[in-house]
C-alpha cells in the first residue's frame, strides 16, 4: 500500500468525527428534494400497479410461455445485491479487516433496503397479493418457494439487527448531539440506543451479540441466494438444469453487491462530504475485491456456458444458440463483456480504482448484473421442453409492458427511498467504531 498517495493529514478528534458525520444528516438541502422526487416516482408508478391490481396480470407482457418475466429477474437482482451486507460486514468483519469500518454500515443499509424490496417484488408479481399468506399457511416443505420466503424473512431480520446493533453506541451519541431532531426521532434514538453509555460490560456484551449475528448471517446469506437459485435449478429446464447454480448465483451476487456498494460509497462521500472517512483506500480495496469476485464469477460463467456449449445436447442447443448468436446475443455478450470481463481488465489497473472511475465502472457492472438476471430468467422460459402448440403469436415472445416497467421502476425508487431515509436518520459512517479504530478515546455521556 506504499504506492498509494498519502492521505491528507487531518487531526481527527472525537468531536470532529461526530461533527463531520452528524452534520450532513440535518443540514442537507438537496436531500428533501430527492425524497420528494422519489415519492413522486413511487406515486406515479404506484398508479401503474393499481391498474395491474385492478385488471390482473394480463396487463403485463407475461403469457403462458413466459410466466416469470421482468419481475422475477428484478427479484433475483435485488436478492443478489442484498448479499453485500453479508460479504462486507460479516465475512470481512469476522476476518478483522479494518478498512471496512467506515463502509460496513452502508453495506448493511443496502442489504436491508434491497432484501426488503425483493420480498415486496414477489408480492408485486402476484395476481392475487391478498393470498400471499397462503404460502405460509399451505406451503409445502418440499417446495423451494416456501424455503425462499422463509430465508428472505430471516435474512431481512438478521440484516436489520446487524444494522441496528453496531449502531447502538452511535445512536446514544445521536440522542445527545442531534438537538434539532424532531421529538419522534429523539424518541426513536432513545429507544434504540437501549441506555448505552459505553461501560466496559455493555461494550463486551454488545460485541458478543454482534459477533453471534455475524456468524449466523453467513449460512443465512449463502442460503438466501442458493435457495433463490434453486427456484430455477429445481425445475427441469434448459439453462436452469445445472448443479452449479447455487454457487454461481452466490458469486454473481457478490459482484452485483460490491458494485452497488461502490456506487453508494461514492455518492455518500460526495454528498455527505465524507472524504476523510470513505477515503481512496476504501475505493482501492473495494476495487480489488470487485476484481476478485468478478474473477470467481467469470470462472463460474465459463463452467456454466462452456461445458454445455461444448456438448450442445438436444434442448440445450436451442437455448445456447439463442444466447450466443441468436436474439439474446447482444444482451448476453454485453452483460458478460461490459459487466464482467472489461471491468476486470480495467480494475487491475490502479488508475481505475480511484473513486470516480471505479464508480462509473461499477455502474456498468451493476447494469450488467441486472441484464444477466434477465438473460437467466426469460430465454429459458421461452424454450420449454414440451412446446405449447397453436398459441397466439405474442405467447412465444416476451416484451415487458409499460405497466411492468413502471412497477419495476417503483421497486427501484422504493429501494433508493429506503436507503435515503435510513441514511438521513442514521449516521452512515460508524462514529464510535471509526474513533476506536483510530485510537481516539470515546466518551458517551449518560
Amino acid at each position: 500500500m506504499n504506492d498509494l498517495p498519502k492521505q491528507k493529514e487531518t487531526t481527527l478528534s472525537f468531536e470532529k468525527i461526530k461533527k463531520d458525520i452528524l452534520h450532513p444528516m440535518q443540514n442537507h438541502k438537496g436531500l428533501e428534494l430527492w425524497i420528494v422526487f422519489l415519492i413522486t416516482v413511487i406515486s406515479v408508478c404506484g398508479w401503474a400497479y393499481y391498474i395491474q391490481l385492478k385488471e390482473g396480470l394480463g396487463v403485463t407482457g407475461m403469457r403462458d410461455y413466459v410466466s416469470w418475466g421482468l419481475y422475477i429477474a428484478n427479484f433475483v437482482f435485488f436478492v443478489a445485491v442484498s448479499l453485500v451486507g453479508m460479504l462486507i460486514s460479516s465475512i470481512l468483519g469476522l476476518l478483522r479487516i479494518d478498512w471496512i469500518t467506515p463502509i460496513s454500515r452502508i453495506a448493511e443499509i443496502i442489504a436491508v433496503a434491497f432484501v426488503a424490496v425483493a420480498g415486496l417484488v414477489i408480492v408485486l408479481d402476484m395476481g392475487r397479493p391478498d393470498r400471499v399468506l397462503n404460502v405460509m399457511i399451505h406451503g409445502r416443505f418440499q417446495s423451494p418457494i416456501l424455503w425462499d420466503v422463509t430465508v428472505i424473512t430471516t435474512y431481512l431480520t438478521v440484516s436489520a439487527l446487524l444494522l441496528i446493533l453496531p449502531m447502538i453506541p452511535d445512536l446514544a451519541i445521536c440522542k445527545k448531539e442531534l438537538t434539532k431532531a424532531s421529538p419522534i426521532m429523539k424518541k426513536l434514538y432513545n429507544i434504540l440506543s437501549l441506555g448505552y453509555i459505553n461501560t466496559p460490560e455493555q461494550h463486551k456484551h454488545l460485541h458478543k451479540m454482534i459477533r453471534t449475528l455475524m456468524v449466523l448471517i453467513v449460512p443465512i446469506g449463502l442460503a438466501i441466494h442458493t435457495v433463490t437459485s434453486w427456484l430455477f435449478a429445481a425445475t427441469l429446464r434448459n439453462g436452469w438444469d445445472t448443479t452449479i447454480f447455487g454457487p454461481y448465483f452466490v458469486a454473481g451476487a457478490f459482484v452485483a453487491g460490491s458494485a452497488a456498494l461502490i456506487i453508494a460509497m461514492y455518492f455518500f462521500r460526495v454528498n455527505y462530504r465524507l472524504q476523510d472517512y470513505i477515503t481512496d483506500l476504501q475505493f482501492d480495496k473495494m476495487g480489488k475485491l470487485l476484481v476478485a469476485v468478478c474473477l470467481v464469477y467469470l470462472y463460474f460463467n465459463l463452467n456454466e456456458f462452456l461445458v454445455p456449449g461444448y456438448k450442445m445436447k438436444t434442448g440445450d442447443d436451442v437455448h445456447l444458440k439463442e444466447l450466443f448468436y441468436g436474439n439474446w446475443a447482444i444482451m448476453f455478450w454485453a452483460s458478460q463483456l461490459l459487466g464482467n470481463i472489461i471491468p476486470i481488465i480495467l480494475l487491475v489497473n490502479k488508475k481505475f480504482r480511484k473513486p470516480l472511475p471505479i464508480m462509473i465502472i461499477s455502474l456498468f457492472v451493476l447494469a450488467g448484473a441486472w441484464f444477466k438476471r434477465y438473460v437467466i430468467v426469460i430465454p429459458t422460459m421461452l424454450h420449454p421442453h414440451l412446446p405449447i402448440q397453436n398459441v397466439p403469436e405474442n405467447f412465444v415472445h416476451y416484451y415487458p409492458s409499460a405497466i411492468e416497467i413502471s412497477v419495476t421502476v417503483l421497486s427501484f425508487a422504493l429501494v433508493l427511498l429506503i436507503i435515503t431515509v435510513l441514511s438521513k436518520i442514521f449516521p452512515v459512517v460508524p462514529i464510535v467504531e471509526t474513533a476506536e479504530s483510530k485510537g481516539i478515546e470515546v466518551k458517551i455521556d449518560a
Binding site: 416443505f141 418440499q142 437501549l194 441506555g195 461501560t199
Partner: protein, 306 residues
C-alpha cells in the same frame, strides 16, 4: 413472334412440371410396388378390424377418414386418408407409403404386420366412392329387422360373457343377427381396454361369447365397469350397454399421493425434508431470539455501573 411463342411454351412447360411436382409432394412410388394387390377381401369383418388398427396407429395424426380433422403439422400436414384425392392411388401405392414413411410420417414396416396393413387399406378403401361395389361382395346377409337389441349374460364363475344380438323381422319373429362384430370394453384409468378377443363376431344364432381376462385388476370388490356395444354403428345404429361386473381381481388401489414423497401434499412430505426445514428454522430463529433477549440486558448493564 417466334420468341414469344417459345417463351409461352417454356412457361407452360415449367408450369406443368412444377405443378406435377407439387401434386406428388415429391413422394414417388416405384412402379413394381404400385402393382401390388390387396390379398384380403373387403368383408365387413376385415373392414372393422382395419378400423381398429387405423384408430390405434393412424388416427392420432390423420384424424378420422373423410372428416379432415388431422393435426395441423407444418410444413406438410397429414392427408385425410378418406379423401378421394388420396384414394385414387392403388392399394400397392398406399401399402408402399405405409411401409416406408416420409418426413413426419413414420415407417410401419416392422411396427405392424402385413395383414394389419392390408386391413387398414381395406378399411380406407371402404371410403372410396369408385369401389363401393366391390365392398359388398362377401357380406353376410341378415334379414331386414327392427327393434335390434342384445342381451348380456355374465358368468362370474368361469369369467365369460355372452351377448345375444337379435332383431324382429317383418313377420314379427325375433331372430339372431349373424356376423356382426361386438366390442367388450373395460373402463380403465385412461380409456377403455378391449377384451373382445380374437373373434368377437356373432354366430348364426346371434351369439358371441368372450373370455374375460383372469388377471385383470378390479376395485376392492373386484368390480369393473364394462361397456358392451355393437362395434360399428353403421348397421343398426348405436347399441351399447354399460354394466358393472364382478369379474376383476379384487385389488386395493394404491394412490401415489398417499406415500411420503417429494410430490406429495404437505402432510406427506418426506420426514428428512420436514426435519431439515423445521430444524433449520428453529435453530436460526432461536439464536435470533436469544440475541433479542440479550438486547434487553443492555440497559441493565448501564445501571450496574451506578
Amino acid at each position: 413472334m417466334k420468341n414469344t411463342i417459345k417463351n409461352i411454351a417454356a412457361l407452360f412447360l415449367i408450369f406443368v412440371f412444377s405443378g406435377s411436382i407439387a401434386n406428388a409432394q415429391g413422394w414417388t412410388v416405384p412402379n413394381s410396388a404400385k402393382k401390388k394387390q390387396n390379398p384380403y377381401e373387403a368383408t365387413s369383418k376385415n373392414i372393422s378390424s382395419g378400423k381398429k388398427i387405423y384408430n390405434l396407429h393412424c388416427k392420432s395424426c390423420h384424424g378420422d377418414p373423410t372428416m379432415a380433422n388431422m393435426i395441423p403439422l407444418a410444413p406438410v400436414a397429414p392427408t385425410d386418408l378418406g379423401s378421394q384425392n388420396f384414394l385414387v392411388q392403388s392399394d400397392g401405392e398406399i401399402y408402399y407409403k405405409v411401409n416406408k414413411g416420409q418426413g413426419a410420417m413414420p415407417t410401419f414396416e416392422k411396427t405392424i404386420s402385413d395383414e394389419d396393413k392390408w386391413m387398414v387399406i381395406t378399411f380406407l378403401r371402404s371410403f372410396d366412392k369408385n369401389k363401393k361395389m366391390k365392398q359388398q361382395v362377401a357380406e353376410v346377409k341378415n334379414p331386414e329387422v327392427t327393434d335390434v337389441k342384445f342381451e348380456l349374460n355374465v358368468n362370474e364363475a368361469d369369467k365369460t360373457m355372452l351377448a345375444k344380438l337379435s332383431g324382429v323381422t317383418k313377420k314379427g319373429k325375433r331372430v339372431g343377427l349373424q356376423g356382426i362384430e361386438m366390442s367388450f370394453l373395460v373402463k380403465r384409468s385412461f380409456g377403455y381396454l378391449d377384451v373382445s378377443g380374437e373373434d368377437p363376431y356373432t354366430n348364426e344364432s346371434g351369439d358371441v361369447q368372450i373370455q374375460f381376462p383372469k388377471d385383470l385388476p378390479g376395485d376392492r370388490e373386484g368390480q369393473v365397469n364394462m361397456l358392451v356395444k355393437v362395434t360399428d354403428d353403421a348397421f343398426y345404429g348405436k347399441l351399447e350397454e354399460k354394466r358393472v361386473v364382478t369379474l376383476g381381481v379384487p385389488t386395493d388401489p394404491v394412490n401415489p399421493l398417499d406415500e411420503r414423497a417429494m410430490w406429495g401434499t404437505r402432510a406427506n412430505a418426506p420426514i428428512w425434508i420436514i426435519v431439515t426445514f423445521v430444524g433449520g428454522v428453529l435453530a436460526i430463529w432461536s439464536v435470533i431470539f436469544l440475541v433479542l433477549f440479550q438486547m434487553i440486558k443492555l440497559p441493565k448493564l448501564a445501571k450496574n455501573k451506578d
